[in-house]
Symmetry: C3
């Protein structure tokens, strides 16, 4: 995948200001340490440790943040932009646009129910199954080996990678991306337990899942269907979910959220808009997480969260408090020794109150 | 999915006592806040916050626990029952029974080995593979794109949703439900590491998995096969496993357990009957978890657990102790300050013993 | 699966020293408690609790570590070896070698692009898809329902179990094993967020994944592709990954590592050689984990780790320190009471400094 553009052309593409050899023709894009004289590279200040790499790079051209005008960078050409991440994204989008797309049409080895409806320019790969009443909107791509259940709806220009399951009645928005192994609309985890015998009777799960537009869901993540016939588990527009994430039945996740890998959210929890959940975060059921809340990796949420709170820990606390507690926690042995010394000094013995012979 | 029954008919179905307009015909079922005048709803006292919703509902009929006779509820009809969860389950079962079932028969695009045995009324979906010697018992449904390995046995009336893998020799009980992406019988994680070179030699995994009757396993969960030829990883009858759960080789999980999403159990651990493991719980290998134990979400178990213990935390402790410790943990900064004050008062300096210049 | 060998033959196979009835013919292999008079069993000293089982076993022959010459064991034959795990592995390998292997050849219901290249003796199962330019090297087995993307390369003698996805351009080494549901090369989790609107623009992920030789990846684990066209997410030779593990884009995992189930590693983190990560460990992005580091289950890594460090906890600390802190943590209530007593004794009141009326 060759860029094959000059520094001047890329500067126009990303809306920046060029310095140095604007006529230099670039063929590739690579990290600061990997790039050679034909390559574009970039400095992302989000990780300060990459400043030294910028000073030592062999790249032909480096995209730099305007804020780093003073940073050392020996590249023969430099492009200054407000936001290097955005600039790199635009370059990669231009490259991605040249990749082959699956051809439109239904593979002869797909099984499409005669009462399913396929829009213009849709693509259905080999060994995929589209059941009765399902709708695949214009330009949607159903990869190989996918399952689209009865009455399910796949929005315009949405892409299902191989081996995705969308069960009956579920609704996927426009321009969504579902990565391999995603399961949309499996039964929620609901049982009615007989207290006498302990038998767990399955509660039928008759709702569906509704994904808004521009939702992306990572490989092997699972979103369970709602319980009652009119219940939907909802993922709001623009929310991006990483791999191996679990969303329980009847959850409502807002718009523009980021759920990092291996997050788990139990049933009936409502998550506001633009919430960020770090990797492996767990959230109990029937809670309400406010707009803009941010939760650090591996945290456990067991109570409602106010909007814009930043939480950390298991159980989670406001992050400043959590960090403070962690800092004091590290002093526990010294605190324990200090108490023993004080007690000795005061003639109270070296044992804490309430402790038994196990010392 | 319309209910289309009167309050009187539903009262009979759920075995309750009706109050108000017993002739009211209901068309749907919905949560207290969503329900309209044609809808059935219900109050589940497990979540007290729903009491206010009961007082404000627009539902035509509400199922209430007998214990909530005094609760405010303006619905024109009310049905009192011992257990609303059970009542709702019965209503949903009646609705679910009207859903279309996959037709019996083998799809022409399934690959069934001539030496596989299919019982009466079985259904095998398109692109599924059933290998030599596998047995699919009467009434079992093998969804599309499933894999049933050589000699595997699928019990009567069991259902495999799309894209389930059951590897060779594994045994699935009767009336089990395996959701999309489930993997039964992958190799256990076993290596013989050469201490000199660090090379990990794979130990062949020659056992199988045995699922009891009425086991349900959530989407993309994995249960590894036993190590020795006669070893089974066992999931007891009636145990319900949520999504993205991992069960290591040679584990024995008892009857009637509940394993919530993203639980992981390392190899050779034995879990008793009616054990409840909250979401993201991890259990180390070669342990014994007693009958009826309950473990809070995100807890980590590193030692045997007595029957009926209730544990919490990582590492897990008896829940009362864990909550107590959490409560005192929150006071750490004040404890730290108190020790400093006491030391100052006693002329011991403000430093704890054993601390170096890093202050 | 019958062993059908004498004690003498097995002694030769495992390179040990026999005691007792060397002519005894064995038919099976089983754990100490399960084995009968025709069975081989073994004592693995890694778990001391099995010593009692050795003394009570009914096995015909037991493999014992040379270090356990004194251990009680009533079996009519005993084989002493340096390393029982290795001996059992050799016996199981001999058994596994007798299992039927998938026949070479392409199933008529697989879809192979005419420009894909298949080596000698390869096997491709039903309903698998191999795209344009993909290469399947000699002796590789592509199970049923797998997807091998355009230009992907599968190494010699590698095995893909059913329902594995290897996306375009990814490279799998020789003798690798990918278990059912594995996803190699899904898009990394990368977004360029507009700070004004909160919109997350997808950053195309144009790199690939490179798995070294002898890599094994457990069921439903996911390894994301690199971001830039020349970026690879790399898993080093001989590394063994358990089920439901997530490896973020641009990670570089070294050789000979062990990643236990449900581990998650965020993007751009480098893990050295022979690192061991316990179950459910989480590692933040852009970190460097030194060679030979070991991290206890459920730990969370938020900073670089030196070679050979042994860490535990979330956030992780050197394990001795972590265990010490855990031990003192358990004394928190007594420490709290002691401080209160001291303050009372010194006439300071029973309240800690800085605490308000909430007592």
């Amino acid at each position: 995948m060759s860029i094959d553009q000059t520094v001047a052309e890329i500067t126009r593409l990303v809306g920046g200001q060029a310095e140095g050899d604007a006529g230099l023709r670039l063929s590739g894009i690579a990290g600061l340490s990997d790039a050679g004289p034909q390559d574009l590279s970039y400095l992302d200040l989000a990780h300060q440790k990459y400043l030294a790499a910028a000073a030592a790079t062999k790249a032909g051209c480096v995209i730099l943040p305007a804020a780093a005008r003073g940073a050392a960078c020996p590249a023969p050409a430099r492009i200054y932009v407000e936001n290097p991440q955005r600039a790199v994204r635009l370059v990669l989008e231009a490259l991605a646009a040249r990749q082959p797309r699956p051809a439109a049409g239904v593979h002869p080895q797909a099984v499409i129910h005669p009462e399913a409806r396929l829009g213009a320019g849709t693509s259905v790969g080999p060994f995929s199954v589209v059941e009765r009443g399902a709708e695949i909107a214009d330009g949607a791509v159903i990869g190989p080996q996918c399952y689209v259940g009865a009455g399910a709806r796949i929005g315009r220009a949405t892409r299902l990678y191989p081996q995705v399951t969308v069960r009956e009645g579920c609704v996927v928005g426009e321009r969504c991306i579902l990565h391999p192994g995603v399961v949309i609309g499996a039964d929620g985890y609901g049982f009615d337990t007989d207290r006498r015998t302990g038998t767990h009777h399955k509660v039928p799960q008759l709702g569906n899942v509704v994904l808004g537009d521009d939702v992306e869901i990572g490989a092997s993540s699972t979103v369970d269907r709602g319980k009652l016939p009119r219940d939907s588990t909802v993922i709001g527009a623009g929310t991006k979910i990483d791999n191996l994430v679990q969303i329980g039945h009847n959850c409502r996740i807002g718009r523009g959220c980021l759920l990092v890998a291996q997050v788990g959210i139990a049933g009936s929890t409502t998550v506001g808009d633009f919430v960020v959940l770090g990797g492996q975060v767990g959230i109990a059921g029937h809670l309400r997480i406010g707009d803009g809340a941010q939760v650090g990796a591996q945290s456990g949420i067991m109570a409602d969260v106010e909007p814009r709170q930043i939480l950390f820990g298991s159980p989670a606390r406001p992050h400043r408090e959590a960090f403070k507690l962690q800092a004091v926690y590290a002093k526990l042995p010294e605190m324990h020794a200090a108490i023993r010394d004080i007690r000795r000094k005061l003639g109270l013995g070296s044992e804490e109150p309430g402790r038994k012979s196990e010392a």
